[in-house]
């Protein structure tokens, strides 16, 4: 009896000592590879190392995470899952349903994530009541950027309704300036589309259409009005827009060749890199209408064997949502912290506006997931919508046909 107890105690001691001496390890699959992004991740790696961890970097860029997704699937199927991977939105739940994610509730509860994150964002990080992912940042998608000089030279203010936008655009066009800088890639078409949809459908309508996939809303007259506005905006785009990268469109605004661009706040990084000052050289505002469309990057932890790796996951999760990382990372990245209690003194005016709008929309229920950036729907459904949006924008399809196609495509994607 005694020996048994002793044995158990010494056994515990051994476990405890291995815990104490195990080095947290993490192999992190992510798609942040270019200059500013990479520097942002390096901050996390630095903190990880300062806490005694060993970080192995597994970057795979491309297609907004498509290539990383390919690598992730191959590795999970091979039984060789990475410790942590950059996954976002409903994909987190999809991976959870495959039974391959680890539970990080212990860390989340110890650090009070439920209190410091906006409720709708926290919702994305939870699977069946447990915490399964850690949020890094909040990108706002429904931004409109403008060249300050071009606007003032033409006596135009930032538009607060789509009618104002159309009027301003016509005036600019008459003055020989491209009203809207746009890159004709499917995801960029979708980005503009959802900004327009939010403005016209309102927060409730947006939620019904792009979160609940309510057929009535999707085929409503309001939705036709959204497509009508897209058709109007097609006329404000120059003729060479197809396939243009978003940053080249941003450059057009910078050069004064074009006046506006509708794009997420990563566009700010492009302005900043060129030495432009927000409020002076370029202006930022939310697109016309109420609400806030968020695109939250996050890391999910995969179920892996090995004490070191599991410790690595716990440490990583804690650091990602930690105040310091949230501040430093987002200063680099152009986005705002996911947690609401970070000091924002060091952030620029656009980021401050974003943070204020986020907390206001969180209070009035208009804080909404971006469909175009994979936050609102599963891949098959959001992809089906994007197919219709981009087909409509790049042809002379009528709005009636478009909503019909939209309903069919969604039915076919289930």
């Amino acid at each position: 009896m005694k020996t048994k107890v002793l044995g158990a105690v010494s056994g515990l001691a051994i476990v405890a000592s291995t815990v104490a001496f195990a080095e947290p390890q993490a192999e992190v699959l992510h798609y942040w590879t270019s200059g500013g992004e990479a520097k942002s991740v390096a901050v996390l790696q630095g903190e990880f190392a300062a806490n005694g961890g060993t970080w192995t970097d597994m970057p795979v860029a491309g297609g907004g995470g498509d290539a990383a997704g390919t690598a992730l699937r191959a590795r999970v199927l091979a039984g060789n899952a990475p410790t942590a991977a950059q996954i976002k939105g409903p994909a987190i739940q999809e991976w959870y349903e495959e039974g391959v994610l680890a539970d990080i509730s212990a860390v989340a509860e110890a650090n009070n994530w439920a209190d410091v994150l906006p409720a709708s964002i926290a919702g994305h990080m939870q699977c069946d009541g447990t915490w399964c992912a850690a949020p890094v940042n909040v990108h706002r998608v429904d931004w409109i950027w403008a060249n300050a000089e071009v606007l003032s030279a033409n006596g135009i203010d930032m538009p607060t309704s789509w009618d104002e936008f159309n009027a301003a655009a016509e005036q600019l066009q008459a003055a020989g300036i491209i009203p809207l800088a746009h890159g004709g890639q499917a995801w960029q078409d979708a980005t503009v589309f959802e900004a327009v949809a939010l403005g016209i459908l309102g927060a409730d309508g947006f939620h019904k259409a792009f979160v609940e996939l309510d057929t009535e809303t999707l085929t409503s007259d309001d939705m036709k009005a959204v497509f009508d506005q897209m058709r109007t905006m097609r006329g404000f785009v120059d003729s060479n827009f197809s396939g243009r990268d978003w940053n080249l469109a941003t450059a057009m605004v910078m050069n004064g060749e074009a006046a506006f661009q509708i794009m997420g706040d990563w566009a700010k990084g492009e302005f900043m890199a060129a030495g432009k000052v927000p409020g002076e050289d370029f202006l930022c505002a939310s697109t016309p209408g109420e609400g806030f469309l968020y695109n939250v990057d996050s890391f999910a932890m995969f179920a892996v064997d090995g004490e070191e790796k599991q410790q690595g996951q716990a440490l990583l999760a804690e650091l990602i949502v930690g105040k310091n990382f949230q501040e430093v990372f987002n200063l680099n990245k152009g986005s705002i912290p996911a947690r609401t209690d970070v000091e924002l003194d060091a952030f620029d005016s656009c980021a401050l506006l974003s943070a204020a709008d986020m907390s206001a929309s969180n209070d009035n229920g208009s804080l909404l997931p971006s469909y175009a950036h994979g936050m609102a729907l599963r891949g098959a459904q959001s992809g089906a919508i994007t197919d219709v949006v981009t087909a409509h924008f790049n042809s002379d399809m009528s709005s009636d046909d478009a909503v019909q196609m939209l309903a069919n495509a969604i039915a076919n994607s289930m």
Partner: protein, 297 residues
């Protein structure tokens, strides 16, 4: 080499002949421009500063030539949190490509030798199955292959990548060697067998020495395919085993970062240097190897 020079020398005389010649060279030159156009764009862009790209024409000669982008691409560009350029990944690609090319060429040679010279019942069926395998779209095999590599314990390793490249290279290497060996008279093998030479002996002392041209063709083909592969490289690697195309992709294809086109282009040219070198150095042997019979099949 000289067949048609004979024709031209008899068909044209004096001025007409010279005009014809000039016309010929101009045509060839125009086509050369067409082929060089993208390389020109890549080269000039890689020599510009980012400032100039952002403000100026994308397709124009650089106002100021700078090699900064090349230095950055080789040893400073971020491919993740490591900012060491494409250099570390280069070695991985070498470690993958060289064994994979050698093994698939050797097996292809043996397969081709059997199918062409040791015909037995079913050899043709084998060859047909093999050839059809060349056409399987690689996107189809990614997921089952990942599972298989996991079962074999090769997931994420360089041997795993070599294995995949060898498997999906076999179709073409077998095709090349088979078509080459088929034109070698069967009597040669028969005579050697009468003299008591065995299977490997015949291969080693008769066929292999004849094979240099087709080996060159196969090696060039395989090296190009494997070195430029991205899909397998990205799916079946892990941290530390990623090939250079994945690094290149990481530099070029970031979605929400600031784009440095000059570094992109320089990195692309650097990543392509080994294959370019192979084509420049071995190009002559390539056509010669094809001439020697591979295409007669």
């Amino acid at each position: 080499m000289t067949d048609m020079s004979y024709t031209t020398s008899t068909s044209g005389k004096g001025v007409g002949k010279i005009a014809l010649r000039w016309g010929l060279y101009i045509m060839l030159g125009l086509f050369a421009l067409f082929y060089l156009m993208p390389l020109f764009v890549m080269l000039t862009t890689s020599l510009k500063s980012l400032e100039e790209i952002r403000t100026g024409d994308l397709i124009s000669l650089p106002r100021e030539v700078t090699l900064d982008a090349w230095r950055t691409a080789w040893s400073g560009a971020c491919t993740g949190i490591q900012c060491e350029g494409v250099r570390p990944y280069f070695w991985n690609s070498v470690l993958i490509a060289i064994p994979a090319v050698m093994i698939s060429t050797l097996i292809g040679a043996l397969n081709g030798y059997v199918v062409a010279q040791w015909r037995f019942k079913g050899a043709n069926l084998f060859f047909a199955l093999m050839l059809f395998g060349c056409f399987i779209p690689f996107q189809v095999v990614l997921l089952p292959m990942a599972r298989m590599l996991g079962l074999m314990g090769l997931a994420g390793t360089i041997p795993g990548l070599i294995f995949v490249h060898v498997i999906y290279g076999l179709g073409f290497t077998t095709l090349f060697f088979r078509n080459y060996y088929v034109s070698i008279p069967a009597e040669l093998t028969k005579a050697a067998k009468v003299d008591g030479a065995g299977f490997f002996r015949v291969f080693w002392s008769i066929f292999l020495p004849l094979s240099l041209p087709i080996i060159v063709v196969t090696v060039i083909w395989q090296f190009t395919q494997i070195w430029n592969d991205f899909l397998f490289g990205v799916s079946f690697s892990q941290a530390g085993t990623q090939p250079v195309t994945v690094a290149l992709n990481n530099i070029v294809n970031s979605t929400t970062g600031v784009k440095a086109y000059n570094v992109d282009m320089a990195a692309a040219i650097i990543a392509a240097l080994p294959t370019l070198l192979v084509y420049v150095v071995a190009g002559k042997y390539f056509v010669r190897g094809l001439t020697a019979g591979s295409v007669k099949g």
